[in-house]
């Protein structure tokens, strides 16, 4: 009787133990975090998020440097007895007065393998873009930043999960993306922010983006794409306070193969965190149009 009782207890305990064990999160996933759910059962990615890195300066690893636009110092005849060994590059005149405010901080980069597989012509064009940054970077003119650049610009963004549509509200230039979680037709035209179709893969939001125009850059280092760009993003919750963001870039006109970027996105949980206006169009009107009218508003004088 006593032995039978013990056997019964052991069997029951084993059954209960097995029931507990099979319901632990699988160890196949790197992090064993399961995001809470929204009221309609989807993973809850609602919130205000921000990347904290230097990817907007340069998505590849880079040392610090004096400015975003540098010009070579002219050759100088050496003074008697002196030989200058190094070439000098100085901040370009339009940014010189910013001093250390205009410098570029070092960063590890966010590109897997740190290599962007440009086709040879495209690598040359990237260098040309970098050399002509002031004239060419669309960020300077407050143009919409495209994807994925909008994700890692130094401003917060907000994920707003509605029924069938998820909006991402970016602060820079008030750019917004609509992620269609339902079936939609095609975009009628090429766009700056792309046409986003999303779905859930476990806890991850996977977004497939097409119909980009060729106007946006990936960073301030001149990294670019064509209108054949195809982007796939994964937003995976890995703790209550951060997402892991992985994005695959594909563009057969510019790159020899697809490549990826990866970075954490941090939840902004400070009490007054919110997306504010950064309506920069009027910040750049003097730059773009000041010299075009009859009068220059900066000086009040007649334009020649």
């Amino acid at each position: 009787m006593r032995i039978a009782a013990w056997v019964a207890i052991i069997v029951v305990a084993a059954v209960a133990g097995a029931a507990i064990w099979t319901h632990l999160p699988t160890t196949a996933r790197a992090e064993s975090y399961t995001a809470p759910r929204t009221a309609d059962g989807s993973p809850d990615l609602n919130g205000i998020w921000q990347a904290v890195n230097t990817a907007n300066f340069d998505i590849q690893a880079h040392p610090a440097r004096p400015a975003l636009a540098l010009v070579p110092g002219p050759p100088r005849a050496p003074a008697p007895g002196l030989v200058r060994a190094t070439r000098v590059e100085v901040p370009a005149l339009p940014v010189r007065a910013l001093g250390a405010v205009g410098g570029v901080p070092a960063g590890a980069g966010v590109v897997e393998g740190n290599e962007i597989p440009y086709q040879p012509w495209a690598l040359a064009k990237k260098k040309e873009n970098a050399d002509n940054w002031l004239e060419r970077d669309p960020e300077i003119k407050c143009f919409m930043p495209g994807v994925p650049r909008a994700t890692y610009m130094p401003y917060p963004f907000q994920i707003l999960q509605g029924t069938n549509k998820i909006l991402i509200a970016y602060e820079f230039a008030g750019a917004t993306r609509t992620i269609h979680m339902d079936t939609v037709g095609d975009s009628p035209s090429s766009t700056w922010m792309g046409w986003s179709r999303g779905r859930w893969d476990g806890d991850s939001l996977v977004v497939d983006i097409t119909d980009f125009n060729e106007e946006t850059w990936f960073d301030r280092a001149g990294n670019f794409h064509s209108d054949a760009l195809h982007v796939v993003e994964r937003y995976t919750p890995v703790s209550p306070h951060h997402l892991m963001y992985e994005v695959t870039i594909e563009d057969p006109k510019v790159f020899t193969r697809p490549w990826k970027m990866r970075m954490p996105l941090y939840r902004r949980f400070d009490a007054d965190a919110q997306i504010r206006e950064y309506k920069c169009v009027e910040f750049v009107e003097q730059l773009m149009y000041g010299h075009l009218g009859v009068v220059d508003p900066a000086t009040g004088t007649i334009n020649k």
Partner: protein, 141 residues
């Protein structure tokens, strides 16, 4: 006929009402109403941006040279909702532009009336534009 016209005007003005429908068009600042243009040319590309689309047009002059014109159109969004896309005005299409020339005399104008070379209006029925008959054009049903 006159009564009908008067009624149309009377009725219509009551519908539109007092608020200026500001389509944000500084027409008189950009274009010169004393310089009407009528151009026939082939489409090089069309920029489907807001609030004005822009059509780049190659126009053959009587001398036999080709001039590149930029023609300002209206906003594209209503066209999208009627089934037109950026593929709807293909490169090479022959169109006729009636409008007014840019004030500074450059090769720019506004395309007040846009028709195909055979007189059919642009962007009215998709059958006229080469847009795919994909069932989205209500006029085709």
């Amino acid at each position: 006929m006159l009564t009908k016209l008067v009624m149309l005007i009377a009725g219509a003005s009551l519908i539109v009402g007092a608020t200026r429908v500001s389509a944000h068009h500084a027409f008189a600042a950009e274009f010169d109403s004393t310089k009407p243009i009528k151009l026939k040319g082939t489409v090089v590309k069309m920029e489907w941006i807001n609030p004005h689309t822009w059509i780049h047009l190659d126009v053959k002059t009587p001398k036999g040279t080709v001039e590149r014109w930029m023609i300002e159109g209206g906003p594209p969004n209503a066209l999208y909702r009627r089934g037109f896309t950026q593929k709807s005005l293909p490169q090479g299409a022959e169109i006729v532009v009636e409008g007014f020339r840019a004030k500074d005399g450059s090769l720019r104008g506004n395309g007040r009336d846009l028709t195909f070379a055979d007189g059919r209006r642009l962007f009215v029925g998709s059958s006229g534009t080469g847009a795919p008959k994909d069932g989205r054009d209500a006029a085709e049903k």
